[in-house]
Symmetry: C2
Subunit: 146 residues, 2 copies
């Protein structure tokens, strides 16, 4: 009960975003397993990362099982490949009943297609675009007057 | 006076983010000039883009002048190179008195250094990380119970 809000979280892909998330989530008290094909990527994890590293191809069910996907509260697919992220989120959701799955999308055009599959998505570029557009809309007071 | 909120905006870099921004800003009624080294990148602009395209190296002051940087209310540097984005934001701010400049940063580790130069930054990865971390923090109700 003391770990009521501690979740078991799979982070797939240990690039910049994956390593950042895994480190922060681990620091936040969650049980984190990070999976990557390339062992060298684990060097990106912060010193505060206290979770597990699984080297392997997450597209193989055996790798997901090694990471104990069947226990996961959450699966976050943030590899550099949008279609792999989609597939992983679907596998987590449908085969292993992971309650929360999310796929990172690099190409905003893919986002609609992903959502048609019922997959939650996050697109860094869309977030950045929205932030910049919001700033332009809300902060016009310093316009040049000439 | 009817164009009170219309700004003159330079978008440097016509990759996915730059093309998205330029199109949206143009659609929003702003005067937009998009600069890229590679003319083929302009194909990413949406059909609603009604601004100008300048093919050239924005690191060359002549290219910035061709884009009429001296009139710009805002300069948004979103090339794929963090250091070039930093340099462009500084040049816009210091040499051409552009009131608002912002540099896209791919590597979150660079963000602090950029801010020390007084440059506004936006890091898509940090935005995505914050969004995902916020979701984990605020939405724990569907945890597995087993």
């Amino acid at each position: 009960m003391s770990k009521k809000h501690s979740q078991y979280i799979l982070v797939i892909g240990c690039g910049r975003l994956g390593a950042h998330l895994a480190t922060q989530l681990s620091r936040g008290g969650h049980s984190v397993v990070v999976i990557d094909l390339d062992e060298e990527k684990f060097a990106k994890l912060g010193v505060e990362f206290g979770g597990f590293r699984v080297e392997g191809d997450a597209v193989e069910v055996s790798t997901l099982k090694q990471a104990k996907v069947e226990r996961a509260d959450r699966l976050i697919a943030v590899t550099g490949n949008d279609n792999i992220n989609l597939a992983l989120a679907q596998v987590g959701q449908r085969l292993f009943n992971v309650p929360h799955t999310i796929a990172r999308v690099s190409n905003p055009a893919s986002e609609r297609a992903f959502r048609e599959f019922g997959i939650n998505t996050i697109c860094p570029l869309v977030l950045a675009g929205d932030a910049l557009l919001g700033e332009v809309a809300n902060d016009p007071q310093k316009e040049r007057h000439q």
